[in-house]
């Protein structure tokens, strides 16, 4: 059982460092819950005394698939595991455990998501740091922005939020409440206004008031809608008028419940503006968000943050290890 103890240790330290980075002492229920069941379930497959065989690998592959990792990527991962088992001469089921984790980690770490330490630092010469937040409908953009603003604020930065979702009913009102909770300023226009104009106003006001960070909310849009994607392009272009190197960050918000379509989403949003990171939301639920694995494998986009609840302090820095551990949970 040494392996599981060691593993437990690793998980807690990874999770701990994540929370520490944000100054959080409490461990989120969602993550800890999945962590516990992970152990029992994986123990079920990789039981002591069991030998590695084809059936075992199939079972593992199925666990990967049910975590939304997808057919091809799951198959590739298991193929690598199989090869390593052969090459390194493993026989006992327990030994597969570290190999599997290692293979998954490799995929996540090859994108720069492992180096997440400097996120709340900004370059004082290049203020304001502008962040554009994009994604399909209903993934949690607005909530994420509230939390992100709060985190920046806690890190001692001055923040202004731009309400460039001028389309959805009551989007302004919703964002206003979040700005209020985070204790940051908001720039908005009336419902139906040109979103690019709102973005412009926001960056402009940040420049004139010498603020550190601009976070722009955008309306949810399905990635196959040309005109809506063009609108996003326009927002970036308008930001560049004020700040040629902006937006410094474009975060794509993905809902952890989303299946394989998330890959398509990432591909299409990338075409409009370079995505600097993914925010994976709703990880406090039963969904695993495993689709970020094929996204990392194929598109090399790092995951930056995870959303683990509806409260303002429920946005955490992404830790590949903690994430992989949670992946296998019940």
């Amino acid at each position: 059982m040494g392996i599981f103890d060691r593993f437990k240790e690793k998980v807690s330290s990874a999770v701990q460092s994540t929370s520490d980075a944000l100054g959080f002492t409490k461990l989120k229920d969602g993550l800890s819950k999945t962590r516990d069941t992970f152990l029992s379930r994986i123990q079920g497959v990789l039981g002591v005394g069991r030998k590695i065989d084809a059936q075992l690998l199939t079972q593992l592959e199925e666990i990967l698939i049910t975590a939304d990792i997808g057919f091809d990527t799951s198959e590739q991962i298991i193929n690598s595991v199989r090869e390593r088992v052969k090459k390194e001469g493993h026989e006992n089921a327990e030994e597969v455990f570290d190999i599997l984790k290692d293979e998954l980690l490799k995929i996540l770490i090859q994108s720069p998501s492992a180096h997440n330490d400097a996120v709340y630092n900004i370059n004082p010469d290049r203020k304001p740091h502008t962040i554009l937040v994009v994604g399909v409908n209903g993934v949690g953009k607005t909530t994420t922005i509230g939390k992100l603003a709060y985190n920046y604020k806690n890190a001692g930065r001055s923040v202004v939020i731009g309400a460039a979702d001028t389309f959805r009913a009551a989007a302004n009102e919703q964002l206003e409440i979040w700005a209020d909770r985070a204790g940051v300023q908001i720039v908005q226009q009336k419902h139906g206004a040109d979103p690019a104009a709102v973005a412009y106003d926001t960056v402009n006001s940040a420049i004139s008031r010498d603020l550190d960070v601009v976070i722009i909310d955008t309306a949810g849009r399905l990635h196959n809608k040309m005109n809506l994607m063009a609108e996003l392009d326009k927002i970036s272009r308008v930001i560049k008028k004020l700040k040629p190197e902006g937006p410094e960050d474009v975060y794509l918000v993905l809902d952890a419940t989303t299946g394989q379509n998330a890959i398509q989403q990432a591909k299409e949003f990338m075409k409009v503006s370079p995505i600097t990171g993914i925010v994976l939301t709703k990880l406090d639920g039963t969904a695993k968000g495993g689709v970020v694995i094929p996204i990392a494998a194929e598109l090399k986009i790092p995951v930056r943050y995870i959303g683990v609840g509806e409260k303002i302090d429920d946005l955490q820095l992404f830790s590949p290890t903690a994430f992989i551990d949670a992946l296998f949970g019940e």
């Binding site: 199925e62 409908n137 009102e173 919703q174 206003e176 399905l222 196959n224 040309m226 419940t257 406090d284």
Partner: protein, 445 residues
């Protein structure tokens, strides 16, 4: 976007061409492809495994006869099986004989509940009902305001109070509805995670208090493997009477439909196909089946097109394409018609195999105005005879339309590609031009 299942099966079964029956040995690779297609479409793993077993049982021993190739036969079996599982009939809202009919809506955060409530209200009013919308999401910031604003847009009353207890709001709304003769009450609830016990109890309490005639589970069509877990949890607590799939205007394959129905055992009553309040449609199992298999939601295209094109027009067009007479004049007319149906790329994406054909042809809806300008700068004669468009004519057209020669060249290239493609597509067809894209013809049925 996705490779069609039929293409993959063709590959898998090539070696077995000419064999008279489908046997255990020649079907294995094909089953693998089916399994992959379903998993890529987000059908739950267990549902997939069971489905593949069923298809295997059905397929083995089947004679390959007539014009059907083995892969076509298997796709046919798979498609039929899917349609059957998805329910061959669509079912409407069941109204109570003692009004008001109470419809409760529940689901995960961001799945589209509030928007759906407004869409449903509008839809039922059109059918002569007097709906009342009820705002029970006391949790998400500005959720009540959102429903109020939607109510204003569709000009229907929204029951919203300062009350913090959603159970009380819902009960009060029923009393209100009775008093003011609203015969349908649509209750919007907060989004919730199934592991949030407090919130699950809340929605159960609302349900117990109002005893709904319909409890609809609103599910994002893009949901992955978790669909089953989530649907099961909601069903256990609320005894769902139906499912609503939202955001089908995206390009998701929508395998969740199968997973959810498998758990809930109740029909999908509506699908959401847009953000606007009238983007609500009935569920068509055969279309989702084609979508899941990556064969395009062809019937939707046909239907959309049929709404816009009349029979005569379609026949004329078919003739023209056959005779190689499709001109810029027709192109312009088609573009204008298609524009009325939605984004060009969306529409083309609905056609099986079109993705591949269109990969190198970029279609930007915003470029449409430019395209129109270019075509309008051609003389009528040029439009009817695109072959005539030499360098000097192209230059003149570019100047006249305020575009560049490159723009004109690109359009002419696009036009050529398109006519070629249309010819290919229409070659396979038997009957009408648009029908010739259809699955039934592909399968030789």
């Amino acid at each position: 976007m996705f490779e069609n299942l039929q293409d993959k099966l063709e590959h898998a079964l090539k070696r077995f061409r000419g064999q008279a029956t489908i046997s255990e040995e020649n079907i294995d690779e094909a089953l693998r492809e089916i399994r992959r297609a379903l998993i890529e479409a987000d059908v739950n793993l267990n549902v997939t495994n069971k489905f593949v077993e069923d298809v295997k049982a059905k397929a083995i021993g089947t004679e390959v006869k007539g014009k059907l190739l083995p892969e076509q036969l298997i796709v046919k079996i798979v498609h039929e099986e899917l349609v059957e599982l998805l329910g061959s009939k669509q079912s409407d809202i069941q109204f109570s004989s003692h009004p008001p009919t109470v419809i409760m809506v529940a689901g995960l955060q961001g799945s589209g509940k509030t928007t759906f409530c407004a869409k449903l209200a509008k839809n039922l009013r059109k059918k002569g009902r007097q709906p009342l919308l009820v705002a029970c999401d006391v949790h998400r910031p500005a959720a009540i305001e959102q429903l109020k604003q939607l109510g204003q847009t569709i000009n229907l009353p929204v029951f919203a109070t300062e009350e913090k207890n959603p159970v009380k709001i819902a009960s009060d709304a029923i009393i209100y509805a009775k008093k003011f003769a609203r015969d349908v009450v649509i209750i919007d609830t907060a989004g919730r995670l199934t592991i949030d016990q407090e919130m699950m109890k809340e929605v159960q309490d609302i349900s117990n208090a109002v005893n709904p005639n319909e409890t609809l589970f609103v599910c994002d069509a893009m949901i992955g493997q978790d669909a089953v877990t989530t649907a099961k949890a909601f069903h256990e607590i609320l005894s769902l009477t139906g499912v609503v799939l939202t955001k089908l205007d995206g390009d998701t394959r929508g395998g969740a439909a199968l997973s959810v129905m498998n758990v809930v055992g109740k029909p999908v009553k509506f699908v959401g196909t847009g953000e606007k309040v009238d983007a609500l449609e009935p569920f068509h199992p055969e279309r989702i089946a084609s979508r899941i298999l990556g064969m395009g939601d062809i019937l939707t295209l046909v239907e959309k097109a049929e709404q816009q094109l009349d029979e005569d027009q379609a026949k004329k067009l078919e003739q023209k394409i056959k005779k190689n007479e499709f001109s810029f004049e027709d192109f312009l007319e088609q573009l204008r018609t298609i524009r009325k149906m939605g984004s060009l790329k969306d529409l083309l994406g609905l056609i099986p195999g079109m993705d591949k054909a269109m990969r190198n042809v970029s279609i930007d809806d915003n470029a449409f105005n430019k395209v129109e300008a270019v075509i309008l700068s051609m003389t009528k004669f040029e439009r009817e005879n695109p072959k005539l468009l030499n360098g000097s004519r192209r230059k003149r057209i570019a100047d006249g339309s305020g575009t560049t020669v490159q723009d004109v060249n690109r359009l002419i290239k696009q036009f050529d590609d398109m006519t070629k493609m249309m010819k290919n597509v229409s070659r396979g067809g038997k009957s009408r031009f648009l029908k010739s894209f259809g699955l039934p013809q592909n399968l030789g049925m």
